[in-house]
Amino acid sequence: MRILVVEDEQILQDQLVEKLKHAGYVVDAAGDGEEGLYYGREYDYDAAVIDLGLPKLDGIDLITTLRNEKRSFPVLVLTARGHWQDKVHGLEAGADDYLTKPFQMEELLARLNALMRRAAGHASPVLREGELQLDTAKKEVRVEDALVELTAYEYKVLEYLMMNASRVVSKTELTEHLYDQDFDRDSNVIEVFVGRLRKKLEPINPIRTVRGQGYRFNVETTA
């Protein structure tokens, strides 16, 4: 899951990036609205955290511009002033949720998690597909009620595929959303992860390979 953080206060930005990375997200950080817009245009994110009081390009304008350009990833706005007018403006511009500074980091993580689930069409934090259960809050996976031990990367691959269950996800997309830019983008690595993941999920096999295009999550194909 790739997340964009746009926050002008350097220390707070650092803290956000650190916490998000620690929670297993891939994070890009921008210090002003223009940089944020550049990132938002350049990459396809799963969610964004945007401060409303930004230099160069205001947070509201940034969100409006991104939405006008059909960037539909969920946006969580941060507001220091805490005025309802700011929150309403942010949500009217296209944000999906708000958080007033100062905030608890756990709260931010929970809200982000919920936003991404909602974007994927899941109301509950536990995604269920047939015999497969994925708890996005605890980061746990169960098959036929038995806990499956997954590494952080294997979990991320499965979560991303489940969140995008209705479509084919290319290896490049997986790489982009799961790894930092400096990561070696060798598609063989992905294949290795998917292979191990399939083995661990047995007896079900929800990950289907679409030749030449990538992977698709589909419980119907369970063996």
């Binding site: 803290q15 009081g53 309802w84 949500l91 009217e92 100062p102 109301a123």
Partner: protein, 442 residues
């Protein structure tokens, strides 16, 4: 309310005008009467002179040459009568008209000196008459005194006076009406700029215009310009103040967020204490800044459309709480407005609605009732607020040292804003057993 300027002007001029015209009428009436009497006397005098010219004496009897100048004296009921009398003798001449009418002449023997006129009014029966009497020394052998007395009915003169009076009153009445009307028009026209200004000030209050128009007469121009400047200044300083408060909020809260995040990773004993103090600081900053940047009931400004504010808030909150599937029903009277600042209203309703979204289970009802004040009810089917806690929830954080860790101060902030607006915030139980919050704004 005091008497209007227009009424004052009209009342004064009407009073002055009517007393002036009344006096003028009185004086004119009196002088005309005087002049009519004068002319009656002159006419009677002429008759006496003509009688004296025509008087003859034969056989010690008075007589007149047949053709008296004034033949009204020969006509019965002509209204003109004459009498000549020789003093000391039973010798009396009366004109034909006097004899047929039966006029009682006055007795002046010995009262009047020769060469003197006496003009007199007398009522005889139902008839008023003028009498003019003159005594002369008749130049015969005895040098006797002769009294000439002429009388005339007042009737024709009174008729003239009456006619004059009627014309006078009609004329004066017309003048009064004309003047009062002219005065009314003048006052209306003269005060029109003031009325226009009052109307524009009302529009300013309702936010229908930003400033007064520029076409005021010189007497009001200064006032209008000063008012404009005052309003502009007030708005500028309000927004400057608000900007300052926002900058302050921003520069305080971001560091607080940084400290809080840093503390979270700190497992030392003191970090709990610090965290507690941080909560207090946060609550104080939030509450004080909200209070400080609130505008309160504004005198000059747009009336805020309550329905619109609620619509926007509900839409925003439904986005933020879209995973909860909360059913929101609105029963608001259309066109409900509150005099105040839109942000203040949004702050109050935002906090209240957010609480409703947070604590309700399935639904929220927003309804209104407007009587003397605007009442907005928010009902939910959540757990509700314990009756013992209701008072406390509203006053929470009123004093900074009362604030405890983790307590929300949303309702307390709202309560403070409501107080600023001289409104009222009441908590009770909703129809579904949840909380019902009633917000009254004047």
């Amino acid at each position: 309310m005091k008497t209007g300027i227009q009424s004052r002007l009209l009342l004064t001029t009407s009073l002055v005008l009517s007393s002036f015209l009344f006096l003028a009428g009185f004086v004119l009436d009196r002088s005309f009467q005087e002049s009519i009497r004068e002319s009656a006397r002159d006419q009677l005098e002429l008759v006496i002179y003509s009688l004296m010219g025509a008087a003859l004496e034969f056989d010690e009897q008075l007589g007149f040459s047949t053709d008296l100048a004034d033949n009204r004296l020969y006509q019965p009921e002509s209204g003109w009568y004459a009498m000549v009398e020789r003093h000391g003798k039973e010798d009396r001449w009366r004109s034909l008209s006097a004899r047929t009418t039966g006029v009682e002449f006055l007795d002046y023997q010995g009262i009047l000196n020769p060469g003197q006129f006496d003009f007199h009014e007398e009522n005889e029966g139902s008839v008023d008459r003028f009498f003019l009497t003159y005594v002369v020394i008749w130049e015969d052998e005895d040098e006797t005194l002769l009294t000439f007395q002429v009388a005339a009915d007042q009737e024709p003169f009174v008729r003239t006076i009456r006619g004059f009076r009627r014309n006078l009153y009609i004329g004066l009445g017309a003048v009064t009406v004309f003047f009062v009307m002219a005065q009314y028009v003048a006052v209306r026209w003269g005060l029109r700029p003031l009325r226009a200004m009052a109307e524009e000030v009302r529009e300013l209050e309702d936010g229908k215009r930003e400033r007064l128009s520029e076409s005021y007469p010189i007497e009001l121009d200064g006032l209008a310009q000063n008012l404009d400047r005052f309003i502009a200044h007030e708005q500028r300083s309000r927004s400057r103040y608000r900007k300052a408060m926002e900058d302050l909020a921003h520069s305080l809260k971001t560091p607080l967020a940084v400290i809080r995040n840093a503390l979270q990773d700190d497992k030392r004993e003191e970090s709990n204490l610090l965290s507690e103090q941080l909560d207090r600081m946060e609550n104080t900053v939030t509450r004080q800044l909200t209070r400080a940047s609130a505008v309160g009931p504004v005198i000059v400004g747009r009336r805020v459309d309550v329905g619109n504010v609620i619509d926007r808030l509900v839409r925003a909150l439904q986005t933020a709480y879209s995973d909860r599937n909360i059913e929101v029903e609105q029963q608001l009277e259309p066109g409900m407005t509150v005099r105040g600042d839109e942000r203040d209203l949004m702050e109050m309703l935002g906090n209240l609605l957010e609480n409703a979204f947070k604590y309700t289970r399935t639904r929220i009802l927003i309804r209104s009732a407007s009587s003397a004040s605007t009442s907005i009810y928010l009902e939910d089917d959540g757990p509700g607020i314990d009756p013992e806690l209701r008072e406390e929830v509203l006053n929470r954080g009123t004093r900074a040292d009362e604030v405890q860790q983790g307590q929300g101060i949303g309702l307390a902030v709202v309560a403070e804003l409501v107080e600023l607006y001289h409104g009222q915030l009441t908590i009770s139980e909703s129809r579904w057993g949840g909380a019902e919050i009633r917000l009254d704004l004047p």
